[in-house]
Every structure is written in C-alpha cells, then in structure tokens.
C-alpha cells in the first residue's frame, strides 16, 4: 500500500520518466514504442503497469516517475474502474500537473456517452488534463505520443520557464455546465 511519490527520488540528468497505466495492456506497448522513437533529444524511460500500486520488488531501481498516464478504454467499464482504484495510490503531489488521462474510442458509436462524461468528471475532479487518442491507426498513436511527450517534458522540468502545475492550469479538464445539470434532474 505504498504511495507513489513524485519527489522522493532525485531526477536524472536530461531524463524524463513516464508511467503508462492500462488495465487491458492493449495500447501501452504500442504507445511506449512510439514515445521512445519520437523523442530524440531527451532520454525517455517508459514504464508500464497494469494498475497501481507498483510492486515493491524493484522499488530501489525504479527512477523518479515524472508523469503518470492512465489509459482508459471507453469500450470497457472495467478500464475506468481500474483507473479509479489506481488513483488512490498516488501521492497528492502528482496532481500538480504530473497526472494525465488518455481515453480511446471516444468516437465509437457503440460506447454509451455516459462513460466519457464520467471520465471527464474524474479528470476534472483531479484537475488533470484529458487527452483523446486513436489507438487503431499508426497516425493516431503518433499523435498521442506527441501530446504525451509535450506534457512529459514540462512535467519533468525540461522546458525552461514552464512547470507541470503551470501547464495543468491551462490544460486541465473542465466539466461543462450542461453535464453538471444532469445531476439535478
């Protein structure tokens, strides 16, 4: 039951570490490969996990995680539930711009619209950005990797004059008023 802490370890020189959390393990490998291939200037370590907490075994060798990405597939309810429980194992320090949600198949017709709404509410309640990604096409994966890298570099402190907290105030998910009003019916 150990919390993952953002500042318990020293950062590496010119290194950014990203943790992809996905219960289904369908998308994270593809995304990890693309993220690594996209970035040429910074050492990017991608770490994959099905859920949090992370095992104690390699606690020592694990570098400082700069960005935690929760991948949620809207096609499955379990994906959302798993991300929700994993969130409990993150130190509050992470929610200052070091957490990001990535949803897939948001445009899928068969997905109930309520699921995207609930993910948005979750992201908004933690003041985190929410990205939509296309996981079926290589272009979609590349775009998702680009977006994650942009956030990662800021979160890892590699961009002068920008911090994760500053970026997250600009990019965090907000719930529009008409979704809120559904609660009052």
């Amino acid at each position: 039951m150990s919390l993952l802490k953002p500042f318990s370890k020293l950062p590496g020189l010119n290194t950014a570490n990203i943790l992809l959390v996905e219960n289904e393990e369908q998308f994270q490998q593809k995304l990890a490969d693309t993220v690594v291939l996209q970035e040429k200037t910074v050492n990017v370590n991608v770490r994959l996990a099905r859920s949090l907490p992370l095992p104690m075994e390699n606690e020592e060798s694990r570098p400082r995680i700069d960005l935690v990405v929760f991948i949620i597939h809207l096609t499955s309810e379990l994906s959302f539930q798993s991300a929700e429980t994993s969130l409990n194992y993150l130190d509050p320090g992470y929610f200052q711009g070091k957490v990001c949600f990535l949803v897939t198949s948001a445009r899928n017709v068969s997905v109930p619209p309520e699921r995207l709404v609930s993910v948005r509410k979750l992201a908004a309640s933690f003041h985190c950005p929410l990205l939509c990604a296309e996981d079926q096409t290589p272009e979609g994966v590349t775009t998702a990797a680009h977006r994650l890298l942009a956030i990662l570099k800021v979160a890892a402190g590699l961009v002068p004059m920008a911090t994760g907290l500053y970026l997250s105030t600009l990019t965090r998910c907000t719930v529009p008023s008409d979704i809120d009003q559904q609660n009052f019916e």
């Binding site: 010119n14 219960n23 990890a32 490969d33 690594v36 970035e39 040429k40 200037t41 050492n43 990017v44 370590n45 991608v46 770490r47 994959l48 996990a49 099905r50 859920s51 992370l54 095992p55 104690m56 075994e57 390699n58 694990r62 499955s76 309810e77 379990l78 994906s79 539930q81 017709v109 068969s110 997905v111 109930p112 619209p113 309520e114 995207l116 709404v117 948005r120 950005p129 990205l131 939509c132 775009t143 977006r147 942009a150 956030i151 570099k153 800021v154 590699l158 961009v159 920008a162 970026l167 990019t171 998910c173 907000t174 529009p176 008409d178 979704i179 009003q181 559904q182 609660n183 019916e185």
Partner: protein, 390 residues
C-alpha cells in the same frame, strides 16, 4: 539506439489485477534542445471538449432553424434545446394498451423483431394525406424497381402500399400519432381474391418525446424520431429514400448502447411481479482473442429479488434511478465473477432478453407483451432523439 525490456513476475498470483512493471530505456544523442513552440502547438490540439463542442453545435443548429422559421432573429437559449441523458425513469406500470389502441394494430407491432433507425423531423408531413402518400410511395417503388429494365418483367413489380395511423400510442398531446406502413406484393397471375402478402412493414413513432424539444420545433415539422422496419433491406432503402426526398428528413441507424440495454433489463425485471418474465438472459462479448460470448441466464425470481434489494435504497417508489440500474447489473456481474472468475465489466453487453421482449446492441428490438409498450417506446424515442443530429 538501444532498447531493452525487463519483465518482472506477478507478485501475487491470486490477484486478478496482476502488477507488472516493464521498463524501456532509450538512450539517444544527448542534445539539449527543446522546441517550446512545437510543444505549445501540440498541447493546443488536445480535443478536451469534444462532447461539449458536439452538444453546442446541436443546440446552435437547432436555434438556427427556429430563427429561420420565426423570420426574425429571435433568441433561443441553448438550455431549451439541449437534450440530456436521463438519469431516472418512471417505474413501468402494466396497462392494458388495447383499451386505447385498436387490438389488431397492436398485434401488428408486438412479437416481431424490428430494426431501429432514427429520423429527423419530417417537413410538411400531414396525417390527413396518408392516402396520397400510399400512392406516391408505391409509384416510387415501382419506378425504382423498373429502372434499367426495358420491359416489365416478373410479378414482383406489383406493390401496394398502405399508410395507416395507430391512434392512442401517443402519450402527450405534443407527440405525433404513430404511422404504420405496410407494403403488400400483388401477384400478377394470382386470383383476385388471393390474400396479398405483406412483404415489408415499418412504423414511425414518438412516445413521450422530450417536451422542450417538441415545443421548440417549427409548426411545419412533425417529429416521429423512431423508425422501426421489418422486411428486405432493398425495400427499406427505397422507403427511406422516398421519405428523404418527400419530407426533407434524414435517417440513420439507431443502436442500443449498453446503458440502455441495462435500463431495459432492469425495467423488464421490475415487471416480474405482474407478468412472469420466465427468464432474464444477458449476452456479453469479451474482448479476448478470439472474442468470447458469454450468455448469462438468470432465474426470474432471483433476478427480481436482486432488483428488489436494489430498489429498497430508493425512497420514492415511482422512479428508478440510473444508480439502481448499475447496482443491479454490478450485482449480476459480481455473482458471475465469484463463480467463473470472469469479470464481465471488461466486455460489452450485447443482448438482453426476457419473455417480455428482447433487444440487441445493433438496434433490434422485439416487444412480446403489449402491456409495457409505452415504457419501451419511450426509452427508444429518447435514444433516437439523443442520436439524431439536430
């Protein structure tokens, strides 16, 4: 370029959510160069407000239409026209529908499987002109079928179309009356007394449509958002294209998503004390390789007891909230997990059936009992209204 992977074994094998930590290192040229501009661009692309944009455009387009109708630029608030996903519904009440509706017409609707579509409001549709519509549609079908043929061949070309009104299905005075369409084939060489065969049937309906939405429609438009069809696809396409040409509307497929299937399962289970539902069957598809279908049949009494235990949470008897519905489905899933160690929430719900009716994810519905028609049609009308690009 180096890429190496290390996998660590599961820490706890009994835990279904196994933990794994895979590491990918990438060592590249150590060039300290950051392009801040590029990052900004890519963060701006983030489509965070997808749903918002969609919803806004709905109400915007809608208010545009009302503006044109009113011939001067009136202000319509987006609130009036925005449709919302319902979070609670009234509990279904058994009601003898045959008292309001002609039993023969009810018999045409029930116990058949219908394919669902949504229709945008029909422009200048009049319930008084159904006879002329019958003639126009049959002429249209014949002419379309004859296209490309030098001479008239076969006996399939004789079609008779019947438009009729099903009075009494509408619940409020804003709902337009249901229209039933039948296409009968005429046998060219058959005796005149031969009963004509029904080759295609379909109906357009609106039951308890969103009142704010229906009120905001201009007078020339009749909203019958739900279109149910049964018969060969070629005829469905012809009927749809005739409607599109004549009433300036457009059709689209209407699927029933898993939330609505869960609603149907709960509504039907709730009917068990009055009408025996006999069984509750749920079909899930799990995203394994190859995909696995799980058919889960529940004894009606057990299903009802579970549903009833969920219902006790609620204080008001008359309405059902979405939380009770999810609670009910979660209960069923938890039971299944305890026995088979398969978490059904990872998959998607494809089909629901009871003795009262069945419904498929791809937009097929069958209503077996006439007593609960209004409840089911109300739910489907809501789906159609939410689905259509207003």
């Amino acid at each position: 370029m180096m890429l190496y992977l290390t996998t660590f074994p599961y820490q706890d094998s009994s835990c279904i959510m196994g933990k794994r930590d895979v590491q990918i290192h990438f060592l590249s040229l150590l060039v300290l160069f950051f392009s801040v501009m590029e990052e900004r661009n890519s963060t701006e692309e983030t489509p965070r407000n997808n749903a918002l944009a969609q919803r806004r455009s709905k109400s915007y387009r809608h208010s545009m239409r009302s503006c044109v109708e009113a011939t001067h630029l009136t202000y319509t608030s987006g609130l009036l026209t925005a449709l919302r996903i319902p979070r609670s519904r009234k509990a279904p009440k058994s009601r003898d529908i045959t008292k309001q509706v002609d039993p023969d017409q009810v018999a045409l609707l029930v116990k058949k499987e219908w394919q669902l579509s949504y229709v945008t409001p029909l422009y200048q549709f009049r319930h008084t002109q159904l006879k002329s519509y019958s003639k126009q549609l049959s002429a249209f079908i014949v002419s379309e079928k004859q296209q490309g043929l030098a001479i008239e061949v076969g006996q399939e070309l004789g079609f008779k179309v019947n438009f009729s009104v099903v009075l009494g299905l509408a619940e409020t005075d804003k709902d337009a009356e249901t229209v039933f369409i039948q296409i009968l084939s005429k046998q060219a060489f058959g005796a005149k007394d031969d009963a004509q065969k029904v080759v295609w049937s379909g109906w357009l309906t609106c039951v308890n449509g969103d009142l704010d939405y229906l009120r905001s429609l201009p007078l020339e438009f009749v909203s019958l958002p739900l279109f149910c069809t049964r018969g060969p696809e070629s005829l469905t396409v012809l009927v749809k294209s005739w409607f599109e040409k004549t009433f300036d509307c457009c059709f689209g497929p209407l699927g029933i998503n898993s939330t609505n299937l869960q609603w149907l399962a709960s509504l039907w289970t709730g009917c068990h004390p009055t009408i025996n539902i006999q069984y509750l069957k749920l079909v899930w598809t799990l995203p394994t390789l190859p995909p696995m279908d799980v058919t889960y049949t529940v004894h009606p009494q057990d299903a009802w007891e579970l549903w009833d235990s969920m219902r006790q949470v609620d204080t008001t008897e008359d309405s059902i909230s979405i939380d009770e519905v999810t609670g009910f489905i979660n209960g069923l899933q938890a039971h299944f997990f305890r026995h088979f160690r398969i978490d059904l929430s990872a998959g998607s719900l494809m089909q629901i059936s009871t003795a009262l009716g069945s419904s498929h994810h791809s937009g097929k519905i069958k209503i077996a009992s006439p007593n609960y028609i209004p409840t089911i049609l109300q739910l489907l009308t809501e789906c159609a209204l939410l689905k259509m690009p207003i």
